[in-house]
Amino acid sequence: MKNPIQYIRQSLSRKLSLWIVLFAAIIFNVALGVMFRQSLDAVRQEAVNRATQVLDNTVLRVNTILQRVEKAADNTEWLILRHLNAPDSMFVYSRTILKNNPELNGCSIAFEPWYFKDRGKYFSAYSYNDNGSILTTQEGNDHYEYFYMDWYQMVKLLDRPNWTEPFFDFNPEDIYSKDMIASYCRPLKDANGSYIGTFSTDISLGWLSETISAVKPYPNSYSIMIGEGGTFFVHPDTTKLFYQTIFTETLEQPDPDLTALGHAMLRGEEGMHQLRMDGEDCYVFYKPLGNTGWSVAIVCPEDDIFGGYFRLQRIVLFIVIIGLILMLLVFSRIVSRELKPLRRLADQTGTIAKGHFDQKLQEDGRTDEIGRLSHSFGDMQQSLIRYIDELKETTARNASIESELKVASTIQASMLPRVFPPFPERKDIDLYASMIPAKEVGGDLFDFFLRDEKLFFCIGDVSGKGAPSAMLMAVTHALFRSASAHQSDPSSIMQAVNETTCQGNESNMFITLFLGVLNLSTGCLCYCNAGHDCPLILGIEAATALKAQPNLPLGVFADMKYEEQEIQLAPGSTVFLYTDGLTEAKNRDRKQFGWQRMADILSSCARQQLTPRQILETISGEVDRFVAGAEHSDDLTMLAIHYTPNPVDSILSESLLLKNDVREVARLGAFVKSVAERLNLAQPLAGQLRLAVEESVVNVIDYAYPAGSDGDITVSVVADGSSIKVTVIDSGIPFDPTSTDKADTSLSAEDRPIGGLGIQLVRELMDSVGYERTDGHNVLTLIKQLKR
């Protein structure tokens, strides 16, 4: 047990039991304490009473006898005094007293020296009782000068009757008394009141000693008697008798209590002292004996008096302690037992806490607090398991969604053009786009690229959210790119994308898409819509919606026919494309941004002649303000294209009309030559120009018109300082030379096809080759940049 406090703290049963026992102990303590205190006083009082009573009785008895002696002496005295003239009668009297008073041991009638002159110096009539017979003699002689004896002198000096101290009397000549004797003496006075002698009666004190010694109120108590000098005359320790006084021990080892007791006794007081005698705590009851000046004391060791009491106390205490210990053990056990389910519960919940949620909780069918607790725990466990399972599901789901979204947004982000301005070298086009993704990737896409003097652009919105949408977006983007790589009309592009999208579209996802092809030379905008929001055209004054047939979104019907439309885009106008993330942006009141609001803002932008970037920033700002912190639920995508074609301040503008006859080539060559001269073109350039134009025209000659028929071919050249634009127009069958495959120049001679060289040369030699079919004409536009 390293730490008892910890040990107790850890167990409720120990704590409880300890508290109970502690409390019980306190109560016992108090109760027992009171009881014992009361009974102690009672016992003490009883002891005092008893001892005092015994002492009183004893003293009374002793006093009775002593008084008898005194009386005998008193009664006889007058006789002596009456017959002072007859010394011999003294012998008779001393004898008679003894006869009449059997308890007397001896008797002396002693006179002052030379009182009876004829009798000599000494005269003391002494009788003593020798086993029944009385012997009388004159006891005074040179060896026994009774004048100097205590018994004789005391009454003379004190002038009153006196008891001598007990002594072992002996007469030197032939008389021995073996007992302890005490004498009661009276002074003898003559008629004048002068002292003439001492009358003394002796009494054996054997009986006294026995009587006093027999006083034993308690088994270990004993009695003592001391004389006027404190000498022990009765004492259980016979070695002390006569030899020691009550003060003897205090001579070498002071004992104030004992000294006080001694003095009290010597003063003739009666009472009780508590002190330590012979190593024991004692109660000493003392009382004086009559007129003797002696004092009797009963010494009662406390152990005796309270022995029984203390024994009882010890037994009771022992019982109480055993009882408390038992109580502790029993309660400990009981409480422990009652709390066992609690412990079990604690262990089991511990196991559960470690993660073993299916740990069985034991039912023990109790209905008390513990039972209820068990039950509640069981319930809690069940809901915990359920909750955790749900949580696992949700977390997994969220995680997958999260990862999906991550994937989606990564795909989206990596795909969309980010660099602006995208065509910094071109003056006729300014383009800006932004895509603000929603929290969950919405699948918006936009794209644009330049090919053959045409700007291909699109904006779209994939249905759904998450990775599948992002995938579809990516696919759509790729399709757009590949479809518009060799097709220039929106409807075919759209159709191509649609067909592929519909293939394998088991999830029935669809895409809204708006597609446009802007001919930068002519400003002609061809477009096709597949269920997308119509863009707006920002003119000088206002923004108006582009009229476009909605058609159906891509991915719905594989054989859907998509019709294209075209308008002429006025120079200086801006095409604004958007997804519904803009118009459907909600604020906290769930109100939508709305088409009108957007249109109004765009009109304002148009009036301000803002650049695409500025337009987008304005709209963004307005949306942010409107939304005011609410989250976007959908991607917000915008694309703005500003068209400012080069002004026609050309240096040169010539055209040539040809017949579709190969022989016209010479004329063509001359024409081109003259143009080159006019433009001061360097030779390689001039030659290249001529070759490109010749090849283009020859193509037309060869294929445009049906064989044998005549047709016109117009070759126009427009040049400014920076570029030459050659336009070849014919009204033959639609033929797009740009849609043929490039020749494979890596083939060996044997493998090279004969045809296809011309177009290839045109492509290689010119910077830009564009084809358009307009109003029944093939329009081939060749541009060569002059400035590098």
């Binding site: 100097y148 004896m149 002198q153 005391m154 006196n162 006027e228 030899y243 006084t245 003060f247 001579l251």
Partner: protein, 312 residues
């Protein structure tokens, strides 16, 4: 015939040696530590060592020490100096063969907490057996007019209040009185030794008559006795054991405590005040003082000189 001569010779030697080497020593009072040195010499064989056979016989009620000396039943006894001087003055020449006490041990103890000398005319206990000469001289000198109460034992009289004060020996009655429960203060005890009456007390005496014929024996006895006292001073507890043996044998009513205190005091009194050593000799100055006092107050008729007390 030869046997007879042998027998007689043996008898002669026995008697002679007996007469020569045997000595009966009677201390002046009953067995107590006051005579410890002699008991020690006896028990430790110091007497035997010097070739003297000693029998210690204590006085009885019937036969006092002095009487025994007079009847030659004892050859040596202890006496106080003043007492010895009285005896010499009364016509019995004595010789001091060993002086043990170097100081006076007598005191006057008053029952009340007052200077005993202030209690003029009161009853003062005095030994009936003949000590107290100095006290009588002093009281007459100081004009105290004491009523001397002669008795065998003053203790009980004192205790009972029959006397107002008592003479006591500082090694004996004094302790008995204390043992009886009396508490004395410095004021209630008058010490003769502190007031110019420091006259030696105990010594060993023989009759001059005996002494003259047994000088060698006396010398040996004295030497051995002195050795006994020396030993006692060095081994007080063992000495106490020896004393208690004699006490018990003689049924004396005393106890070890009193004897111990007595032995302590007696040994202390054997140390001379001036020299600080145990001198074991009579001091002529003390002899002169005592003699002068006793002559002055008529306790003795003629001066007793130092020479009278000592050998040669």
């Amino acid at each position: 015939m030869k046997k007879l001569v042998l027998l007689l010779t043996l008898l002669f030697f026995a008697v002679f040696s007996r007469a020569q080497d045997r000595i009966v020593f009677t201390p002046q009072w009953t067995a107590q530590a006051q005579f410890a040195g002699y008991y020690v010499a006896q028990e430790k064989g110091f007497y035997r060592d010097v070739g003297v056979e000693v029998e210690i016989v204590h006085p009885s009620a019937t036969l006092s020490a002095l009487n025994r000396i007079r009847r030659n039943e004892s050859q040596a006894t202890t006496l106080q100096l003043c007492q010895a001087m009285e005896i010499i003055d009364s016509g019995i020449p004595l010789v001091n063969i060993l002086q043990t006490s170097m100081n006076n041990a007598m005191i006057i103890a008053s029952r009340r907490d007052v200077d005993p000398l202030s209690q003029k005319g009161v009853r003062v206990g005095i030994w009936s057996v003949g000590f107290g000469q100095l006290a009588i001289c002093m009281s007459e000198k100081e004009g105290l007019d004491y009523e001397w109460i002669r008795s065998a034992s003053n203790v009980n009289l004192f205790v009972k209040g029959a006397i107002d004060a008592t003479l006591a020996m500082s090694y004996s009655e004094y302790y008995q009185l204390v043992q009886a429960g009396y508490e004395f203060s410095d004021r209630s005890i008058y010490r003769f030794c502190d007031h110019g009456y420091n006259v030696q007390e105990d010594g060993v005496y023989m009759t001059r008559q005996y002494y003259e014929r047994h000088k060698e024996q006396a010398r040996k006895f004295s030497e051995a006795s002195r050795r006994g006292w020396e030993w006692a001073s060095e081994h007080p507890e063992e000495t106490l054991d020896i004393v208690m043996k004699y006490v018990r044998e003689n049924h004396i009513a005393t106890n070890r405590t009193l004897q111990r205190l007595m032995l302590q005091e007696v040994l202390r009194l054997q140390v001379d005040r001036e020299s600080g050593a145990r001198e074991y000799r009579l001091r002529p100055d003390m002899v002169k003082l005592a003699s002068d006092l006793m002559v002055e107050y008529k306790l003795i008729g003629h001066e007793v000189t130092f020479g009278q007390l000592t050998a040669e």
